[in-house]
């Protein structure tokens, strides 16, 4: 589903990703852990076709990026820690706007469906400006799944959420996984990652330093596994 081969990204003369290899098959939920500045967000932005790789090969559902980024964009849904919503529009208007940008078929039905799914149907006419952080994040997820993507990319989706919103987000993520989407999520929260993901990759110093399937590791051992992986890439 996602194939990344020898991906490099430099900012000016500063290398951020140094020949990264990564794979995720259909229906897999991969959590990418790593210290700050390891290149998690950069990697996700490249997968989302928001940033161009310096070199390397990337394919999503068989389509190469950035050559066929247009096709790939209609297949992916992206959630970042920024809402990507317009405060002066209502929830419904925001979804209608993005629906038109994605040329979603039967838009009115789909918008209703998504609003009910994320539990905002009753407040669909309120301006997004008046929403709490948790509600905004729900709508953000609604925006990301509006065009029925097959690959979901989450960049630190838990940042700044209160306890209720975390529980809600967990539920939505479980639904997304159950419906067979491929999910890549970056996080620095180890416990969340191990709870949801089917595979855990450690990104450190621009490389995937280690990778483990969830059934092969317990919650307690994950911390030492993570520390060791990070330490190995830091001579």
């Amino acid at each position: 589903m996602i194939e990344v081969h020898n991906l490099e990204k430099r900012f000016g003369i500063k290398p951020v990703l140094k020949g990264l290899n990564f794979q995720a098959s259909s229906g897999e939920f991969v959590a990418i852990l790593g210290p700050n500045g390891a290149g998690k967000t950069t990697f996700l932005r490249i997968l989302a076709s928001l940033s161009r790789p310096s070199s390397g090969k990337i394919r999503i559902s068989g389509y190469p990026i950035p050559a066929q980024a247009g096709v790939v964009r209609s297949l992916i849904g992206v959630v970042t820690h920024q809402p990507l919503l317009y405060g002066d529009l209502s929830a419904e208007e925001n979804l209608f706007f993005y629906g038109r940008m994605y040329d979603v078929a039967k838009l009115e039905n789909r918008v209703c469906e998504v609003l009910q799914l994320v539990g905002l149907y009753n407040r669909r006419h309120d301006l997004v400006r008046t929403y709490s952080r948790g509600m905004q994040q729900r709508l953000t997820i609604g925006r990301a799944i509006l065009h029925k993507p097959v690959v979901m990319l989450f960049d630190e989706p838990y940042t700044g959420l209160d306890q209720d919103a975390v529980i809600m987000l967990d539920g939505i993520l479980r639904d997304i996984v159950a419906s067979g989407h491929t999910v890549v999520m970056t996080s620095h929260d180890l416990s969340r990652a191990v709870e949801l993901a089917s595979r855990i990759d450690v990104l450190s110093r621009g490389l995937i330093a280690a990778s483990v399937h969830k059934q092969d590791i317990t919650q307690d051992r994950l911390i030492s596994f993570y520390r060791q992986a990070v330490a190995e890439t830091n001579p």
Binding site: F11, G12, I13, K14
Partner: protein
């Protein structure tokens, strides 16, 4: 530390020799102009530095196009180098022009199309430098710089044309003289030779400065890279 390439040293010497020769030609070879007198000698370096200024800005626009096509860092360094040279030489053109204009036009400055265009060019490339200073990410800095260099350069002929449709008093020495311009003159063969040699000499100055400034940019990159390695 790398030593200076041999050809760059050769270019330094040729340029310096030509510079001295050109000064001698301007003061001793070219005859004194009958109407304006000695101040007319400013003309040779005035036009030549204007030429280098335009060459600099043209280089930046071309380097901008190539950078956007290739994303190769060297073209960003070339673009910045050429802008810096261009700004300095257009400034020299304005200063030498004012020295000439004071006795001939009886004013330091007029809103003639060439003067107006020169002033706006300086502002465009000052904005180019400020734009670059406002961006931390080196790739974005290079991309935005390239886009602005292209837009700025394309706007220059428009500025010139619209300023020209106001009446002009600037002499057109090369080509046909317009009626109403003040301070025009016909060049004698010796004047023409001095003029062409000055143009050639300034082109060498441009090449030499550009090479040195690009080298400086590359060395700065290398220094930054070494610093980064040491911090790791």
């Amino acid at each position: 530390m790398e030593s200076t390439p041999r050809w760059l040293k050769v270019l330094d010497y040729i340029t310096a020799t030509m510079f001295i020769a050109a000064i001698l030609m301007v003061f001793f070879y070219a005859p004194t102009e009958a109407v304006m007198g000695a101040v007319q000698r400013v003309f040779y370096f005035h036009v030549a530095s204007g030429w280098v200024g335009m060459l600099g800005f043209l280089t930046t626009a071309v380097a901008g196009v190539v950078y956007l096509k290739t994303s190769c860092r060297i073209w960003d360094i070339v673009g910045l180098a050429a802008v810096e040279i261009g700004i300095v030489f257009v400034f020299i053109t304005i200063v030498t022009g004012s020295i000439w204009a004071r006795p001939v036009w009886n004013t330091w400055w007029t809103w003639d199309p060439r003067l107006t265009t020169a002033a706006f060019m300086e502002l465009i490339y000052a904005a180019y430098i400020m734009l670059r200073q406002g961006i931390d990410d080196p790739d974005r800095r290079a991309r935005f710089g390239a886009v602005y260099a292209i837009i700025g350069f394309v706007s220059v002929p428009f500025t010139f044309m619209s300023a020209r449709m106001f009446r002009t008093i600037h002499p057109v020495v090369v080509g046909i003289n317009q009626p109403g311009s003040l301070g025009g003159f016909d060049m004698t063969p010796r004047m023409l030779q001095t003029f062409l040699f000055s143009l050639l000499m300034f082109t060498f100055v441009f090449a030499d400065l550009l090479w040195r400034r690009i080298r400086l940019g590359l060395l700065a990159d290398k220094a930054a890279q070494m610093k980064m390695k040491r911090n790791e």
